[in-house]
Symmetry: C2
Subunit: 209 residues, 2 copies
DNA sequence: AAACGATTGTAAATAGATTCACAAACAGGG
DNA sequence: CCCTGTTTGTGAATCTATTTACAATCGTTT
């Protein structure tokens, strides 16, 4: 699939991997790396790294490799990570609270700015420093708070309805923790985070030996 | 990639999706479904569903479709989900505790039977009903408890070392929550659960419009 | 019991992704 | 300033996955 501007989606999905390895290398004091070395580090062929990068420009120098700091800067720019993204969490149950308090988002430029629930017992509560709003007011509040990404952490049985509402409110990117793969229009990007599904495909290899 | 017995890995990865949709359909009282209908539900072409299933056998009836209960049974058997899997959680910090208490594993046949940490302040504590063992004793205890799958929830900087130890202890399936893609030998299957990586590729499409 | 509409399973065709392989480019040394 | 050893960027080749297309089959209706 090459959903946008001719760059295959698989390629875009690999860029964050490269980014993270490069950030690690930079903080370890390295300056330059070849596709060969980076490939060994990530278990990817050097040709794949070079081809992936070539979709976006020519960032290396023959005979030398890539300047780590320069490549980092370019990758962050390509992925839109040179800005902060505002995120809303929908569903403030056990899982939603963990997500709100997860310390891994902020340093990567993702700021959880508001939280929503439909349960009157939860609306108005404070969770992880955020007041929980009524999900019925999503569109209005999300606009006010400049939310660009929604994280869904609601039970499976209401996931599709919640996601339909988000789509109606104009959300274009959804990270779905609900154990349900929901339907969205083609212009809305949705990623599922589901540990059970990951386990369920690994057991195939464990049992079928 | 067709890592095992000729069935492409992408195919195996789709089976849990089919399984979940079918389980949903069964509990809604449906008996039979065609590849056409299932495809609409999952946003997959009917041909893909038929071809995927054909790697494992002939489960449908021409003119009718698939018996949902029969197909469910076969899929669970193929994926090895007609048994219970014992899981160890390694790393009992904030995230590890959430995983131990996550109620979504048990009903799908994944039982968290023990937990490990290296921090002397945490070892011996009780978390989610489990006593936390010293990770140094992993091999011995995991064998005693018949652990087949390890879930890693440790900080990025120790993830590779922990995973190396798990591999040395004979673990073949790892679900990695650490924000670090770790290296493993080819016979060890590792899946990464990383919300930040998912977000980082979605921002590409948000910004590059 | 034959004809019909629906749906599977799969061989062949197409589309897509990865790898190969090499000319072009660069840095360092003599 | 030329030679040597690297390493990039990319067209072409290969490999993999998806889709097409249709004969074979099934249940139902006439």
């Amino acid at each position: 699939m090459t959903t946008h501007s001719g760059v295959p989606e698989v390629v875009v999905d690999r860029l964050p991997q490269y980014l993270r390895a490069l950030a690690q290398l930079e903080s370890s004091g390295f300056d330059v790396i070849s596709s060969q070395q980076l490939g060994e580090l990530l278990q990817v062929t050097p040709a794949q790294i070079r081809k992936d990068l070539s979709y976006f420009g020519r960032f290396g120098k023959q005979g030398r490799g890539y300047s780590i700091s320069h490549l980092l800067e370019r990758l962050r720019n390509i992925l839109g990570l040179d800005q902060t993204w505002n995120v809303a969490v929908v569903g403030v149950g056990r899982l939603g609270r963990s997500i709100i308090s997860y310390p891994g988002f902020e340093p990567e430029g993702f700021r959880v700015v508001c939280a929503f629930d439909s349960d009157p017992a939860v609306v108005g509560q404070v969770a992880g420093g955020l007041t929980v709003y009524n999900f019925a007011d999503y569109a209005e509040i999300a606009e006010r708070e400049h939310v660009q990404i929604a994280i869904v952490a609601v039970p499976a049985n209401v996931a599709q309805a919640v996601i339909d509402n988000l789509v109606a409110a104009g959300v274009k990117s959804i990270l779905n923790y609900a154990p349900k793969s929901a339907l969205t229009p083609p212009d809305v990007r949705i990623r599922n985070v589901d540990p059970v599904v990951s386990l369920q495909s690994m057991t195939y290899y464990l049992s079928a030996v």
